[in-house]
């Protein structure tokens, strides 16, 4: 399993892969929004939590179809499915690799982008915490979507249509944590709900992902 993780990470980092692409997209979004909305500090500060969370969501989405597509094409997915490691574990590892290459960098650069968007000073900590807690759910849900669409020729658009509605609860609670943090309100409830969604998704969704993967490999 660790071998699989390091293999996936190495593939993502080296083979002209998706690594960095999501980050660049995140950065571009944070530059484009002020250009579109106008440079007023007040306006930007108010919408910054939402923009950062939506940006993280879309950046995650970009690299989802790579989770299984390449392995499906060259047949290594069939090997993984017949390997002694249960497919559920393989799926979880894939999601973890996706999170390390996409979610974690997003978390790390988000304060810088918060600076660009004049995010109020009190909420930087909550931005990092909420992204750290929420992005694993994005990866796991995305892995489910990727498993659903793995055999399809033009799965990319369909993947976003399937996955984005499922991102709604994570987005709502994640952005809520940050904007409450910015207003100095208590953030306990949304953070707990966000963590609950992540924990539930991480615990249960790999089974669904493995199930649909088996159907697709039939």
């Amino acid at each position: 399993m660790i071998a699989l993780l390091t293999r996936d990470l190495r593939l993502a980092l080296r083979a002209g892969g998706g690594f960095g692409l999501g980050l660049a997209f995140f950065l571009i979004l944070a530059v484009l929004v002020p250009l579109g909305v106008g440079p007023e500090t007040q306006t930007l500060a108010r919408i910054a939590p939402g923009i950062l969370w939506v940006g993280a969501l879309l950046a995650c989405l970009l690299s989802l179809d790579r989770i299984f597509a390449l392995d499906f094409e060259d047949g290594s997915l069939d090997l993984l499915a017949t390997a002694p490691v249960p497919l559920e574990a393989v799926v979880s590892i894939k999601a973890l690799a996706h999170w390390i290459t996409t979610g974690l960098p997003l978390v790390l650069v988000s304060p810088v982008l918060g600076l660009l968007l004049f995010l109020p000073g009190e909420s930087y900590g909550w931005l990092i915490v909420s992204l750290l807690v929420g992005t694993p759910a994005l990866s796991v849900i995305g892995t489910f979507g990727a498993a659903l669409t793995v055999g399809l020729k033009r799965g990319g658009l369909l993947l976003s249509l399937l996955v984005l509605p499922m991102y709604v609860p994570t987005l709502v609670f994640g952005a809520e944590v940050v904007s409450r943090g910015a207003q100095g309100l208590s953030i306990g409830t949304p953070l707990a709900l966000l963590a609950g969604i992540t924990a539930g998704a991480v615990a249960l969704l790999p089974f669904a992902s493995a199930l649909v993967l088996r159907i697709n490999l039939r």
């Binding site: 659903l148 399937l162 509605p165 709604v168 609860p169 709502v172 809520e176 649909v212 697709n216």
Partner: protein, 243 residues
């Protein structure tokens, strides 16, 4: 002892719906027409909302069926996943477009009513928001069906999507409630239907709800029959080719 599982046999299903479908369709037309005509022409105007209140006879039944259609798809998907009855998977497939249209009717009639009443076509109220999200789930479900060639794979994948989607749709609903109360004042935009309604409105509303239920049933039966026939045609063509 007749059991519901007998209708998992496509032949039995077709034979029964041969006579059942016209009956249900006719009943749907009569009941819905009764409910709507009663509601539109034989109820008094509301003292504050005037005649706009009458859109409730379209709005509430459509919204109800939009949710019930998804629940029916959920049950049918479970039946398909557990007992592998093809009719069940096809019924789920047939229900999705109906549910989609019902959601759309609910959203549009709501907007038409909201314009004169709230002064806006749209508000990010939890109910409205969760309906829009439900609409997106229907779209995704239908798109997945459309994208997959192999019928059994399609049935399996959409069934799993329906199960997982249900969880997330419910989560989104509560997230929307939380989100709106968190950001805005608790605007009492949604008037709970049926609670403080006079019987003059309630009776035609119930009739029209029944009518919409029958419409849904008729459309799902018709859709399932179409799917079964399409399968038979495909099987016949395949057999011709083999021979």
């Amino acid at each position: 002892m007749a059991s519901i599982w007998e209708y998992a046999n496509p032949l039995k299903f077709m034979r029964t719906t041969d006579w059942l479908l016209p009956v249900v369709a006719l009943a749907a037309v009569i009941v819905t027409a009764t409910g709507l005509i009663w509601g539109f022409f034989f109820t008094p105007d509301d003292f504050r909302q005037g005649a706009t209140v009458k859109i409730v006879f379209l709005h509430v039944p459509a919204a109800m069926m939009a949710i019930n259609a998804w629940v029916m798809m959920l049950v049918a998907s479970l039946v398909w996943l557990i007992r592998r009855h093809h009719v069940s998977a096809l019924a789920a497939k047939a229900a999705a477009p109906v549910g989609l249209i019902m959601t759309l009717i609910g959203l549009i009639t709501g907007a038409v009513w909201g314009q004169p009443m709230w002064g806006t076509w749209w508000a990010w109220d939890p109910r409205l928001t969760s309906f829009l999200i439900l609409f997106l789930f229907y779209l995704g479900y239908l798109a997945l069906w459309a994208a997959i060639d192999d019928p059994d794979t399609g049935a399996d994948l959409t069934a799993v999507l329906c199960l997982v989607g249900t969880v997330f749709a419910v989560l989104s609903r509560y997230a929307a409630i939380f989100w709106n109360q968190g950001l805005h004042q608790g605007a009492s935009l949604s008037v709970a239907p049926g609670t403080r309604m006079d019987w003059a409105y309630k009776a035609p509303l119930y009739v029209s709800m029944t009518g919409f239920g029958l419409i849904f049933l008729a459309l799902v039966l018709a859709g399932t029959r179409t799917e079964i026939r399409a399968r038979r045609m495909k099987a016949l063509v395949a057999r011709e080719r083999m021979a």
